[in-house]
Amino acid sequence: MTTKEIIKKHGNKKENLLQILHDIQSQNPKNYITEEDINTLSREMIISVSEIKGTASFYTMFSFTPRGKYIIRVCESPPCHILGAQTIFGAIKSKLDIKVGETTDDGLFTLEGTSCLGICGVAPAMMINDEAYGNLNEEKIDKILDKIQEKEKI
C-alpha cells in the first residue's frame, strides 16, 4: 500500500495518526518512517510537519532512521533486571557485534532496549519483531539468533 492508500484506509482525521504511522512503518522493509512519508502525511492530513514529527518522536515504537529486518527489543525494566537482563544484552552484543541502537552490517538485526513487555512471568525476556522469547540465557539466545540467520541465508 502507498502512504496515500493507508491514509485513505484509516481516514485523514488527526486521531488516526498513530494507526497510520504504525502501518507506514510496518510496510517499510527497513522498519522506519521516511521524510517523504511525513511530507505526504502533512499534505494529506493537513497537519504541520513539525507536529507529526513531534508526535511520532514521542513514541518509542516509531523510528526515523532505517532499522534491521529484525528488531530485537530486550526488556530493561526491574523484573527482568533482577533476573539478569544485562547478561542478555551482553550475549547479543558479543554475538552480533552491535551496541544498543545499532544495526548489523547485513541489515538484519537492530538491538534496542525497551520498557516492560508484559511477559515478566518468563523474565528475562525479549521480543524479536512480534515474537516474544522468555526465560532467556546465553545458550538460548545463541540458538534463537542462529535460527534466524540460517533462515535468512536461504
Partner: protein
Amino acid sequence: MSKKSIAQILVGIDGNTVLLGARKIKSKLIAEINKHNLSAQIQVVETGSIGPVNKGVVLGIYPTGEIYGDVTEENVAEFIQERFIKGSPYKKLLLSEKLRSGIDLIDYDSRKTQHYGRIVLENCGKINPEDIEEYIGVGGYEALGISLEKKTPEDIIKTVKDSGLVGRGGAGFPTGLKWSFARASKETRKYVICNADEGEPGTFKDRLIMEGDPHKVLEGMALCGYAIGADTAYIYIRGEYQLSIQRLTKAIKDAEKLGLLGKNIFGKNFDFNIKIKIGAGSYVCGEETALLNSMEGLRGEPRLKPPFPAESGFLSKPTNVNNVETFANIAPIILNGSDWFRKFGTEKSPGTKVYTILGHINRPGLIEVPMGITLREIIYDYAGGMSHGKFKMAQIGGTAGDILSSELLDVPLEYQELQKLGHNLGSGAILIMNETVSIADFLACCMKFFVHESCGKCSVCRIGTKQMHNAFKRLEKQEAYFDELEIIKELAEELKLTAFCPMGQSVASPVLSALKYFGKELIQGVNPDKRHEPVTRDNLEPWV
C-alpha cells in the same frame, strides 16, 4: 503417620469469616499449638468456606470431621486445651454439621483459589477465548441481555456503586461514582474507553484477561455504555500486545455478527460499537488524560485536571475511562448482584484482585485472590516459596510502587490497610526479591525506567528523575555525596507534591519507602568525605 501431622484444623476463610478475624484466630491457634509443643502433630490449614453460615468463624477438624462455630480469639486457648490436650470434643462450640466426607486435603494445601472462587479469571483457561459460543455457554452476554430488557441505566450504576468496586488500574477510584459523573453529563455524544495500555513493569494481568476472556471485557464495556449513555467505545491497547489485539479484534467481529454489539443490540434501542486503538510504546499513556491525547493523535502528555474526562475527555466529549480488569468485573456483578460481590474480599475493599507475582520465587504467574490477603500468603501459599535465597523485599504495584521489607509480610493487601501505612496497592504487580539484590542498584534501574518514560512536560519530573538516577548510581558505586540521602528525600517529596501527573508523583513511592525501610543499607553507599564541587564546564556530567 509419623511424618505427617495427626490432625488438621481447617480454618474456613471467606469474605465473612475474614471480617470476623479468622486470620487472627488462625495465628492464635498456631501460637497455642506451639505453646503445647504440638506443632508436629497438629497442622492449621486455611480453606475456603467450610459450609455453615452465620456461625461466625468456623473450624473443622480432620480426620474426625467435627465442626466448631463462633470461634473467637478468647476461646481458642480453651478449645485447644479441651480438644487436643484432654482429647474430648469442645462441646461449647460444637456444631451438629459434619465435614463433608471424602474431603481431599491435598486440595486444601495449596491451590486454594478454587475454594475462594474467581470473578475476573473465572473462564480463563476453561473456555476457548476465540469462540463466542463458549462464552455464551457459560452465561456470557446474559448480564447485558437482562439489563437491556429489565434494567434502567440508573439501576446498573446503583448496582455497581453498591458492589463497592473500585478501579483496578491503580488509583482505586470508585467505579460506580465515576460512571454517575459521566451519566450526569447532558451531552449527547459520550465515549467509553478501556485502558489496556498496561505499561507498568511487572504487570501483565490485563494481557491475560484480554487473551483469556476477551468477551467479558467487551460485555463490561457495553454495560458501561448503556449505563452512561454512550454508543461508541475504544480499547486503547499497547502495541506490544499482538495476541490481545488479534483476539479482541476477532471477539468484536463475532459479537457484531450475533447482534451483541453494533446496532439495536438484543433488538433494543441501544447501539454500541467498539473500536481498537493501538498505542506505540509510551508508559505515561496509561495515565488517562495522556491516553486521551494519544488517542487524538497527539503526544501522549497528560492534561490538566479539571476538567475531568467525565466532563471533557476524548475529542472534548464526556468520557469514561476504566481499566481492563475493572470492566471484566462488571458483567459478573450485574448478573449476580452487589451482595454476591461483597462476599469476596474485605468490607472496605470488596471483590478479588488479580496479581502478577514475579521475581525470586518458585512459581511466577498470575493469581486472583480476595482483597486483604497478605504478602506472606502470596509468597508461600501461591508462589511456592522463595526459589533461592532469603526474602529481602517486595515491590508492590510495579516500578511506581512501594518497596516493602520483611516486617510488612503480614499486612493485608487492600486499599485502606495499606493507605494507613502510607502505601498503595497499585496495579497488582508483586516483585519478590532475595538478598542478592542491592537496593541502590535496583532503584537505579527503576529510575532509569522513569528517565526514559518521563514525557518531559513538567521540569520536576524531567530533571528530577534524571537526578535521582544519577544519585542512585553514585550510591551503588559507593561514591555518593555526604548528604546524598537527604537530597534524595527532599527531591522525592518535591516530586510527590509538584509533579504534573500521577506518573511523576509516583516516582517518590519506591524512593521514600526504600529510604524508610532500607536507609541503613543505602547509607553505606555514602562517602562522608565527598563534598559538592562547584559545577564548571569541565566537570559537567554529560546528559545522556
